[in-house]
């Protein structure tokens, strides 16, 4: 991996679910560094903990043990309110199933993180229109999620993830639910925006082709025997 200062730094991170004999250790003593500005693909078989890793880095969950630093700041110890504010300012998420809100049209979905950050409705919507233009969906701004195709929904989700100009982009199987043509289109978009905005990105994927297009690949294996391709 690069010698640059890591933007994401995990040291000895463990995470398990359940209690007693039903407990499953998903991640054990995991170390991972993602330098600033790099795009890392996380690959591995189902159930190995790829999404759990992404949730930990994205402050959606707390590690059972270990240190987690984002941009040099220890974040595992922050309380719920602080973690939410950090997610809003610093992190953009793209999920496998877009997860747009059914009650909002495309423009309001993209504007939502800005509204949460305290932007006025007018400014948030103007910025949302710019982003929808960047993902070639300005003509679909007034459409609700159920009126958009799968590819369009995922492009709206990418626009939403970039609304607050985050420094870290986390994508969980962003193309896993799309056909080949749409998958290529969405991933190219993610790549383009990653370079354009100078983001640090972590992409969880099953798709080896997509993984190869990333700067680095992290192979997550059961029992913690992880290794990294460069």
């Amino acid at each position: 991996m690069s010698d640059a200062q890591p933007f994401v730094d995990l040291r000895g991170v463990s995470k398990g679910f359940g209690t007693g004999s039903a407990r499953v250790e998903v991640l054990r003593d995991l170390d991972l560094e993602v330098p600033s500005g790099r795009m890392l693909a996380v690959v591995g078989p189902s159930g190995v903990g790829k999404s759990t890793l992404l949730h930990l880095v994205g402050l959606l969950d707390r590690p059972d043990a270990g240190r987690l630093e984002l941009d040099g700041r220890e974040v595992a110890i922050l309380d719920g309110e602080e973690r939410a504010r950090l997610r809003n300012r610093m992190i953009g998420f793209v999920f496998q199933y877009h997860h747009l809100l059914d009650e909002l049209d495309a423009r309001d979905n993209v504007a939502l993180p800005l509204r949460i950050a305290g932007e006025s409705a007018g400014r948030a919507r103007a910025r949302a229109m710019e982003l929808l233009e960047a993902v070639n969906l300005s003509d679909r701004a007034g459409h609700f999620p159920d009126q958009l195709s799968g590819g369009e929904q995922q492009r709206v989700a990418v626009a939403r993830a970039l609304a607050v100009e985050p420094r870290l982009l986390l994508a969980d199987e962003p193309t896993g639910n799309l056909d080949r043509a749409n998958a290529e289109q969405v991933f190219s978009l993610v790549q383009e925006l990653h370079l354009l905005a100078g983001l640090t990105s972590i992409i969880v994927t099953h798709n080896e082709e997509i993984a190869r297009m990333c700067d680095d690949v992290f192979r997550l294996a059961p029992a913690g025997d992880n290794f990294e391709d460069v």
């Binding site: 949730h55 959606l60 809100l101 309001d108 993180p113 949460i116 939403r160």
Partner: protein, 382 residues
């Protein structure tokens, strides 16, 4: 507008998109609407009847009574009357004596209350006494006083033989029979002299304030006397009316509690169904506090829309039933000819406030549950 208010509004306005959330929201709104409607109509009905009773009291009963602070007879009733006349201006004033006598007819003899009033010119019995004695207008009755006088045949009770000039409805709240007669006649029966026990006053302009005005007037003049206003004179009846209102409010208000429990279940169902959405909202930076506010706003919004609809419908129904006199009552049995409805704005405000408080309380529990959830839980079990 904050993000959570914007979202809560979209959840509510999203009714036309016919989502499951919209259906659940609609059910909660209808529940609260029906609860508020029932309470508003019931209280309007009760207020209608009670205001008729209060009007009847005001129309027929004494508005204030001045009686001696000690003993049974007023020291100087003429001076007292002139003080009251001077201080209060145009009010009706009547001198009164009261007591209990045996009243007999050809068929029966019963104890009855005797009232002597300076404004009464002939003997009038109420319907209760007339029915007990079996007498009507023109019949003769004998009123026998407990007071005795010495005669050549020994002590005999004072008695008066008189003709019934009229039979009238009893005074509000009166249960036993009563006979009204000229003051002089009653004084002869009960006291044997020109004694006045009380001065009774009426003021058709401000009947409920008369007691306080009389009290102030006598205080100013330095006259010591016991003063009873309308509230004191009819305390048991007015307390019974107030208690009835409270009991009906609580009983029918239970419907609102059931509607609020329904709202609690529905908001909890929305919280469960929107688990992933909430995780995403959390993921894009909505704080636990803001998530809690979102659900409180959603529940209170449902409460506001539902209770406003219920209040508007309830007021409309009550006014319509009252104006059209759609529910007639048998004549002679009730004091009104149709079921009266009277909408009291303060009571409607109270019902709305209770409904909104219950809605807020009902959404508090699910909102707390949502705020405590780790965002990854919603994504992990999608």
């Amino acid at each position: 507008m904050s993000a959570e208010l914007h979202l809560a509004r979209r959840y509510l306005v999203g009714l036309r998109r016919r989502t499951h959330v919209a259906t659940v929201t609609l059910i909660s709104m209808v529940g609260l609407c029906l609860g508020v409607l029932a309470l508003v109509v019931t209280l309007a009905l009760l207020e209608g009847f009670q205001s008729s009773i209060r009007s009847e009291i005001v129309a027929r009963a004494t508005h204030a009574r001045v009686s001696p602070s000690r003993g049974r007879r007023l020291e100087d009733p003429v001076k007292l009357a002139s003080v009251l006349q001077e201080k209060l201006g145009q009010v009706e004033m009547v001198q009164v004596v009261r007591g209990t006598c045996l009243v007999s007819s050809l068929s029966d003899a019963v104890p009855a209350s005797v009232v002597g009033r300076s404004d009464v010119l002939e003997v009038v019995v109420d319907r209760i006494l007339a029915a007990r004695l079996g007498v009507g207008v023109g019949d003769e009755v004998q009123v026998i006083s407990p007071r005795q006088r010495l005669t050549p045949m020994g002590p005999l009770p004072v008695r008066v033989r008189t003709e019934v000039a009229d039979v009238r409805a009893p005074e509000p709240g009166a249960e036993g029979g009563a006979v009204r007669m000229p003051l002089v006649l009653a004084q002869r029966l009960l006291w044997g002299g020109e004694v006045v026990e009380a001065i009774e006053l009426r003021d058709s302009e401000r009947p409920w304030r008369l007691g306080a005005r009389v009290r102030d007037a006598l205080d100013d003049a330095g006259v010591a006397a016991q003063v009873q206003g309308l509230d004191e004179l009819h305390r048991p009846l007015l307390l019974a009316l107030a208690l009835e209102r409270v009991m009906i409010f609580v009983a029918v208000g239970l419907m609102l509690v059931v509607a609020a429990l329904n709202l609690l279940c529905n908001v909890a169902m929305v919280a469960a169904e929107k688990r992933t959405d909430l995780a995403v909202l959390s993921g894009i930076g909505m704080t636990p506090r803001a998530l809690r506010r979102l659900f409180l706003l959603l529940g209170t919004g449902i409460g506001l829309v539902g209770s406003t609809m219920g209040a508007v419908l309830g007021i409309a129904i009550a006014l319509l039933l009252d104006r059209t006199q759609a529910l007639p009552l048998p004549r002679g049995v009730f004091i009104v000819s149709s079921v009266p409805f009277r909408v009291d704005p303060a009571m409607v405000g109270l019902v709305m406030a209770v409904a909104l408080s219950l809605a807020a309380a009902a959404s508090w529990l699910p909102s707390r549950m949502v705020a405590r959830r780790e965002p990854a839980e919603g994504l992990r079990y999608e």
